[in-house]
């Protein structure tokens, strides 16, 4: 008997006049102890299918058809009471964002034991013992202390370990992990994947691993399903999918994985346009009455030349964004000098949704810096915005739209177009593609390299994704805890890393 058998699963929304189907004829078989990957871009229906299996799709405007059989028992559309006895006991879930997925006002221990409280008759003492053991098993140091902490007191990686401990405490047969590593740093990502592997090996728990990240899926899963627009377009063993994909879409997905192939033939690098020398930046942190400085940037020095793409890599909290802000003058360094030839360096941000004012048209957003900083007439401004919107591969019709009427990729194109309005020499791109789907990511990167070549722009390209950085950048700075620990050109960094931290980063990304 299969552990899980899903047949002809269809999910429809009925909140509009015409029902909208988000998952079509989804089939899936899982054996005990198997790891299956479910891959697709956002909106492909992968999370919907997973939530349906976990019994967590219960909105009244939703219709589910087909059959989901778990251990011989039909669980689709079965009464909530029967479903409940499985949830948290036999079928458990881990979600993408561990901070918001934990209840902020309850202690970790309470949340980890919750499933035991619901499904067993263990005493409080026995529950605590089991919880501490579960926290130990996910390799958390000091489990007693974690037990008595609140979610906001832990780091992102620790929180996701807590989520896994809470899911595994009842020894479930099936663990559904919905993008469990997407919100985490790259070194933490690979630790979580290793942890899932260990759990699968030691406890024989079957894992349904949902991700948009094909390289992660290839590391972990035995079998893979690829979804697009609500359909499973291809399924097979991991090797079949990656080595000989049959479907066009799968091939496109795999091709779009940032590889270490350069997108750009090198163009000659000009003179120095930005120079940062011995820059120190610190913030003061208040701890009761005492204030203590936190040194965010320590003695940072580097240069950027004309037509050069410089990569800046490091994990969250290492000072990347502070460096970007210091460079464009939003922060003043405590000591050291920042020299910029360009008076109007521009920035592109990670979240194109949040960085565009939702109540203004694209045209207004693009022309705003011109109004503030130049004496151009309306006619000249309009001509320029038209030129730039075409340069980023959109057309005149987009100028009158609002940000909400654009897709994620289009929004980032608009951000890029807006940054070009003042003819900058230097653009600082802070994680410009990490919020985008992988195929869109490839398009936006292509656009940036085209602009680089055409306009001779320089970029400071900030990213945590070492593959993307390899594709884009001529020279790379590796940052850790506010210091640049290694600097070198592409070949030096990737083929012959010197600093242990660079090696660790490359190893987590599977590049060493």
């Amino acid at each position: 008997m299969k552990l899980l058998h899903v047949e002809d699963l269809n999910i429809e929304f009925h909140d509009h006049l015409i029902p909208e189907t988000v998952v079509f004829d989804f089939d899936l078989d899982m054996d005990e102890g198997e790891i299956v990957g479910l891959v697709g871009e956002s909106g492909s229906g992968k999370s919907m299918s997973a939530l349906a299996i976990a019994g967590l799709l219960s909105r009244h405007d939703m219709r589910k058809k087909g059959s989901i059989v778990f251990e011989g028992k039909e669980i689709l559309n079965c009464p909530r009471g029967e479903l409940r006895s499985l949830q948290g006991d036999e079928i458990c879930m881990v979600f993408q964002e561990p901070l918001t997925s934990l209840n902020p006002v309850k202690k970790i221990g309470w949340q980890v034991e919750e499933a035991l409280k619901i499904h067993t008759r263990l005493t409080a003492e026995e529950r605590k013992k089991r919880a501490i053991k579960a926290l130990e098993e996910v390799e958390l140091e000091n489990p007693e202390r974690v037990y008595d902490s609140y979610p906001h007191e832990l780091s992102g990686g620790m929180r996701q370990r807590v989520m896994i401990a809470a899911a595994m405490i009842g020894n479930p047969k099936l663990l559904i992990a919905d993008e469990p590593t997407t919100a985490l740093d790259v070194t933490v990502q690979s630790q979580i994947v290793e942890l899932l592997k260990k759990i699968n090996r030691e406890k024989k728990t079957a894992i349904l691993f949902i991700s948009h990240d094909l390289s992660l899926v290839s590391q972990l899963c035995q079998r893979v399903l690829v979804m697009q627009h609500g359909y499973v377009v291809e399924s097979g063993t991991a090797e079949q999918i990656f080595k000989s994909p049959k479907e066009e879409y799968t091939r496109r997905l795999i091709a779009a994985i940032p590889t270490c192939k350069e997108l750009d033939e090198d163009i000659p690098v000009g003179e120095c346009i930005a120079k940062v020398e011995n820059v120190n930046v610190s913030f003061t942190k208040r701890n009761g009455r005492r204030t203590e400085p936190i040194h965010v940037l320590k003695n940072v020095s580097f240069t950027i030349h004309q037509s050069e793409i410089v990569g800046l890599v490091g994990e969250s909290g290492c000072g990347k964004s502070t460096l970007a802000k210091t460079l464009i003058g939003l922060l003043h360094p405590d000591s050291g000098t920042v020299y910029l030839e360009d008076k109007n360096p521009q920035m592109i941000f990670q979240d194109p949704y949040g960085s565009l004012n939702p109540s203004k048209t694209v045209q207004f957003i693009m022309e705003e810096p011109l109004k503030n900083l130049t004496k151009m007439t309306k006619k000249e401004r309009n001509a320029l915005s038209l030129e730039m919107i075409e340069k980023v591969g959109l057309n005149e019709a987009y100028l009158s739209r609002f940000p909400s009427e654009l897709s994620g990729g289009q929004r980032q194109r608009v951000c890029i177009a807006a940054s070009l309005m003042l003819h900058p020499k230097l653009i600082i791109a802070d994680e410009p593609v990490s919020a985008l789907d992988v195929t869109i990511q490839a398009e936006v990167l292509k656009l940036m390299t085209d602009l680089h070549r055409e306009l001779g722009l320089s970029f400071l390209f900030i990213s945590h994704d070492l593959r993307v950085v390899h594709q884009m950048c001529d020279r790379i700075l590796v940052m850790k805890e506010g210091q640049i620990v290694e600097e070198g050109n592409r070949e030096q960094i990737y083929q012959n890393p010197k600093h242990p931290y660079t090696k660790e980063l490359l190893m987590s990304a599977g590049l060493l």
Binding site: A54, L56, C92, F95, S101, L102, N103, V105, A115
Partner: protein, 312 residues
């Protein structure tokens, strides 16, 4: 514990600043209390004598320090108009107004909280919509008007109480508390509508949060998710509101005391302002400040108990 001490210290500092501002404001307001006490026919000599007797001839900082030292010991001076101790005047009326406020607070919570929780629990159903409509009307009616309606309905028509028939607590405790219930209801109704609305929308907001989905994934019943997970999170904005509502309710009770003919602090405050009886006005303002700051202190402590993220 350190958090609590820090809060207490900041409360005391706030009170000092309030006292300074209030005292200075009333000292520089135009108008001569001695003149209003003796009348326009008084001679310059008798006015000067009166000023000396009232302590008005001394420099302002000395008057403030004298007043402050007295206030700390519970002596707020003598009323200009009644020639009796301000403290005893206020102490006489304080229980009446305090009863009104405590009643209003309780009624506000007892109506607003359960209905807000219930409406959110039944979100999207007919009963939810009925509650919302009544609540909108309730929120729009100011206390003095709902006071008049309550007097008409419960007093004149149903004869549950005699309008204007206030009895003191020493004469008839039961009659006192029954009478006080109606003005308290008038003060509490619009505020309970706000609490209902606030709790309703924050509960509905919590429903969409990720941790709720996690709670369901562990096999919780809907009730356990609602009461065990969401309620505590949703109560955080409501607790903040309680502190603000109280300050508003004090102002509301001053007006409502007039509507129901209650001889509370509100009445003394109004007559003292008319008579330029500044020691009484200053004392009442300080009293209100103490109550508001005190309740906000309790709210802060409660906040800390409910939300572990506060103060870190």
């Amino acid at each position: 514990m350190k958090y609590v001490w820090k809060k207490i210290l900041s409360c005391i500092i706030t009170l000092f600043i309030v006292s300074l501002l209030v005292f200075v404001a009333f000292a520089i307001i135009p108008g001569d209390p001695a003149l209003s006490k003796l009348g326009t026919n008084a001679t310059e000599a008798s006015l000067a004598a009166m000023r000396q007797q009232m302590g008005l001839d001394k420099p302002i900082w000395e008057r403030y320090l004298n007043w402050l030292w007295g206030a700390i010991r519970g002596d707020f001076g003598t009323s200009y108009s009644y020639s009796m101790s301000v403290a005893s005047m206020i102490l006489d009326k304080l229980p009446i107004t305090l009863t009104l406020m405590i009643f209003s607070m309780c009624i506000m919570i007892l109506i607003g909280v359960p209905l807000g929780v219930y409406a959110s629990y039944k979100e999207g159903t007919a009963i939810d919509r009925v509650i919302q409509i009544i609540n909108q009307i309730n929120m729009a009616v100011p206390p003095f008007f709902s006071g008049i309606l309550i007097t008409l309905l419960f007093g004149v028509t149903l004869k549950f109480f005699t309008p204007g028939g206030f009895v003191s607590i020493s004469k008839n405790p039961v009659g006192f508390f029954t009478y006080m219930f109606y003005p308290a209801l008038a003060v509490a109704l619009p505020k309970s509508a706000m609490i209902l609305n606030l709790l309703y929308s924050s509960l509905n907001g919590e429903k969409k949060k990720d941790y709720v989905r996690t709670a369901y994934s562990r096999g919780n019943t809907s009730n356990a998710v609602f009461f065990g997970h969401m309620l505590k999170n949703a109560s955080i904005p409501t607790i903040t509101f309680l502190g603000m509502a109280l300050a508003d309710m004090i102002a509301g009770s001053i007006i409502i005391e007039q509507v129901f003919g209650i001889p509370g602090l509100g009445r003394i405050l109004l007559t003292s302002i008319q008579n330029r009886d500044y020691p009484v006005v200053v004392a009442i303002i300080m009293l209100i400040a103490v109550i508001v700051i005190g309740v906000n202190f309790l709210v802060d402590v409660l906040y800390k108990l409910v939300d572990p993220r506060v103060g870190n």
